[in-house]
Structure formats: C-alpha cells, structure tokens
Symmetry: C2
Subunit: 323 residues, 2 copies
C-alpha cells in the first residue's frame, strides 16, 4: 500500500473512533465507482459497530442495483444527525447536490466533511482531503482505507470495490489501468468478489432497442473531410425505438476505434430542443477541450462535449443548425 | 505458482539443456494466445542461448503484428532440423496443420514433441504434455515455465504474454478470468508490458466499414418467438461494405447481451453459397451444442455454430433455406 495518505488515514481513524453516526454522500448521476465505494465503506464501518447511511441525490442506475445494500441508499439527508460525513468520488463540492439545500455541509465549523476522490478537478473542499489523481478509481483509496482500519474485506465489500474499479477503468481498457489496478482486482477476486455479476451488469444488459439504436449510429458512421468519424442520432430515432440518450452510452468508443481517424464525434438531439455533441480521441496530439470550447463546452483532453440549442439537419453530411 | 506441472517442468528443463535448435508451433488460424505464448517462449529461450524458430501455418492476423518478433514467424518448417518441438495452445494434433506434410512430428520415435495447452479437447498428443484446463490461457503456463527456467521476463516477453491473456479472456470479461489471471496480468504490467498497445490492437482498430457492418447487424436485431435475439448478414452486405466475415468478430457478444433473451443467433452468408450460424448464450440452462448439432455443427455449451449450404431469404423473419 502507498504511504501517501498515512497521515489522513490516521486522522480519519481517530474521527471514526469518536463517531457513532456516519453519512456517506455519492455524487450526482451516480456511477459504479461512487456507489461501489460508498457501499463498501458503509459495510466496512458497520462491521465495526457504526451506524452508517449512504446517500445519493439521483436514482441508482439499474446496472448498479445488484450491488449488496444498493437498496439502502437514501436520497434525502439530515446532515445534523451525523458526526462525520464522507464525500465520495465527488470531483467538486456541487457534485454532492445535497449542499444546495444544506450549505452547512461545506461549513467546517458545522460539519466534519471527509473528501475522498481521484478527480483532478477536486479542490479539497473537505476538512480532511484525500485526492489521489493517480488512483484508477476512488474504490482503490477506500480499499486501502479499509485495510488501514483493519476491517475485513468480505465478499460483499469486495464486490462493491471491484465493481467500481471495473467501471472506472472501462473493464480494464482505459489508460488508468495499471499494475496496481490489476493487483487490487486480483486481491478482491480472491476475496470472493462476484466477478461474473459485475461483468454481466456492466456489459450484458443491453435492451434490444438499445442495440438497434447502436446499429443506427454505427450504420451512419462516416469519415468527414477533417478525418473525424462522425455519426448522429435524432429525436425521431429515440422515438422510433423508445430509447433515451442514456442508451448511447459506450457507442462513441466504437466510433473512436477507427485507426486512421483523428477523433470521433457523436451528435444527438434531445427532447428539449438541444444538440449534445460528444468528442473522443485516441490521438495524443489532440486536445478536445479546445474543440468542445468552440461550442461552449468542455471536458478532458481525450473526452469532451457540449450542449447547444439546435436541431440536426441531414444533408450530405450531418451539420449543426444553432437554435 | 502452482506445483501441478513441476515434474513436466523438470523434464522440459532437462530437454532444453540438451538442445540447441528448438521449434515452436502455433495452431492454425492463430490467435493472440498461441502467438503470444510462442513469441514469449522464443524470446525467453533465445536469452539463454538457444536457436529458436516460431511457426504458424496460417497468416498472422493484423492485430497481432505489433507483437515483438511477430515478423519472424515462419509458415514452412523442416522438423528434422530441431531437437525439440513445442506445440503451443493446439487443442488437437491436427490444429498444428504442419503434421499433414510431416507426420513424423507426431511420431515419438522421431520427434520430441512438447504439448502445452489449456483446451479440454487436448488428447495429450505430445511426448511431454502440460494440458491445464484451469489455466485462463496457454500464456499463463508459459509464464510459469519461464519463471521455473529462471528466465528474465523482459518488457517484450511481458507484452506477448499479457496479449495472450487479454485475448483469451476477452479483455478480462469472460468467465475464465480469475484472481490468478489478474495477478499474472498485474505482474506482467509491472514488468513493462505494453498494455496500451494491447488494448488498442485488440479493440481500437475497427475499420469504418466494419462499424457499418456491425450497424447493420445491430439494426436488424429482433427477438423471435423462441426468445432468441436474431440477426443476419447477407453476401450483399459484405459486398456493399467491402467487408468480410472476419469483420463480424465480436458483434454476436452484443446480440447476446439482451437480458431477457435466452440465446443469440447470427446468420451470415458467405461467398461460397454457405450459411454460417453462430450461437451464444448467457443462460446456464442452455446447451448450445445440441442446437448446433441439429444443423450438423458443434462447439461449446455457451458458444456453438454450424455451416450449411444455403442462402438467406428475408421474409418477415430471417429463415434458412437449405441449399
């Protein structure tokens, strides 16, 4: 284990020892890392006699509902009833979404907020902060924290942690996969993590209409004159197939898999009269934040996007008509 | 490391010590495991002063040509010039494909054939046999053999081994992924294996017309009255898109990802007047060998197929007209 957080781990251990009631907040639009880390920490702290509640303002996605105790996550919090509050995998304070109604969460005189995350955007908004941008996922930090606290990693805890690792590395495909990632994954699997269910829920749960939607996106793929792989989806497509923009999740990785293409663009209409543009690139020389910025968007160098009012009109190519 | 093969490892060590010229044969239609294992073993044995040649009767797929020394693999062999011959990842003797022209390869009085494999179908056709059906891939066995021989695992060797492991587990998605798989992968990554290139060559090299072909397959997906997810590709599709049946590789996993569907069927015409049927299932209760057997085919319980003369005719559903 890394020695990087030993001081913070010691402080957290001390705080936990003095606490009875502990809250754990996941980020809005929760994903496998924030939920996996939250549930693992909850179960771990419960095993040493603490009263722990997990919270997420937004609904838990279907493919995370198989996780042990996922049904115990609450969407309403009363911050004053907790001795300490963990913010888990929240890249910024507003990602908690509860701090709007309860600004005292961010007031160090009122709340002991422990901020554990791996996003570069994190601005250390907690009283204690562990922000390790080298960690593949926040679950990795939780794994080491549980180990430090001497908490036994049960099968259920292992499943939650591994699910986060698997999700945030895109099933060990993304560039944040390294030797330590795989070692932790190996250890969690040895502790009984339900690998099969994790894979199944992450990748084997496509509705037939989602496949058809992907089919339309891929059928329409073309290389434009800028050597970008472009495709598009209209509101009609969503209507025809009773599908939603969430059903597009992942398909852009395929558009981004054409070897000679510099980057990939997926344009999608939504029901509110907007166009959402998503960019991905494999090219180390390309910074997509600049491209997305031209449309008022942002993101990372290798994955960025924008949303603007407008509709797609099909000519010979897909273009954007600003609304 | 497992003690299961210690006796065979000792015999192999002894044989290698007495040999100067060593051949390694991969199976026909070579994949990442057989090629990765062959090149890793070749480089390892070369590092201790042996003259080693790797052989594969069929061409090396494009996405394996990035592997170190892939360009040194030969497709013509003279068995008599080698002291020992390794058959690597060959699930049956005929898979070597060289034994047709050189039956002496299978004659224990003429050839010291060392058979290293992980397929249940393997019938111990060598003089020495290590057939470990619990191994995720043959590269895992080679990894332990190199370790046993005291050979240093260089970056290049690590890349070849990891590529085989990654390929045979479907990027750690298939059910042959376990704690040991991930541990070996972690160790190989720590030794400098080129993880990024492995992922890129395995998953990020889809030609635009391959995407369009996948688009057609997915757009046509439907649930039939047997609750199977069915799709089909005609010779016209291949012609239109200048694509080949190899471009379909992987798409059936998506057809097999519909949660309520019992199994997936992909029907594809070829240019010789045949229809190739592929079956996949996630359902533990279904044995696809029976289904494939009805069409004279075979395979595994969870993945099977057949080839019969015929053409596809599109009615309301896709049916098979036997030729």
């Amino acid at each position: 284990m890394s020695n990087a957080y030993l001081q913070e781990f010691a402080q957290i251990k001390e705080l936990i020892a003095r606490s009875s009631n502990i809250a754990i907040i996941s980020h809005k639009g929760p994903d496998s890392d924030t939920i996996g880390a939250s549930l693992a920490l909850k179960m771990g702290l419960e095993s040493i006699g603490k009263n722990v509640e997990s919270f997420a303002k937004d609904p838990i996605p279907t493919n995370l509902q198989f996780l042990p105790k996922a049904d115990t996550i609450k969407n309403a919090i009363n911050p004053s009833s907790f001795d300490i509050i963990f913010a888990i995998d929240c890249g910024a304070a507003y990602m908690m979404k509860f701090e709007k109604d309860y600004p005292e969460i961010l007031d160090p005189s009122k709340t002991i907020l422990i901020n554990i995350d791996h996003h570069p955007s994190n601005e250390n908004f907690g009283v204690i902060n562990i922000v390790d941008t080298t960690a593949s996922a926040t679950v990795s930090i939780i794994y080491f924290l549980l180990e430090y606290l001497g908490i036994q990693i049960t099968r259920d805890i292992a499943t939650c942690l591994l699910n986060g690792l698997y999700g945030d590395t895109g099933s060990f495909r993304h560039s944040n996969t390294n030797s330590l990632t795989l070692k932790i994954a190996s250890n969690l699997t040895a502790k009984g993590a339900d690998y099969k269910s994790i894979v199944k829920n992450q990748f084997h749960s496509n509705r037939i209409n989602q496949l058809k939607l992907w089919g339309r996106v891929l059928s329409r793929a073309r290389l434009n004159d800028k050597n970008a792989t472009v495709s598009a989806v209209t509101e009609n497509d969503f209507d025809d197939l009773n599908a939603s923009p969430e059903d597009l999740s992942g398909v852009i990785d395929y558009l981004n898999s054409v070897p000679d293409s510099k980057f990939a663009i997926l344009l999608a209409e939504d029901r509110k009269g907007n166009i959402k543009g998503s960019f991905r690139t494999q090219d180390d020389m390309i910074d997509l934040t600049q491209l997305a910025g031209m449309f008022g968007g942002g993101g990372h160098k290798k994955a960025a996007g924008f949303t603007i009012p407008g509709r797609l009109i099909q000519e010979v190519v897909w273009k954007i008509k600003r609304g």
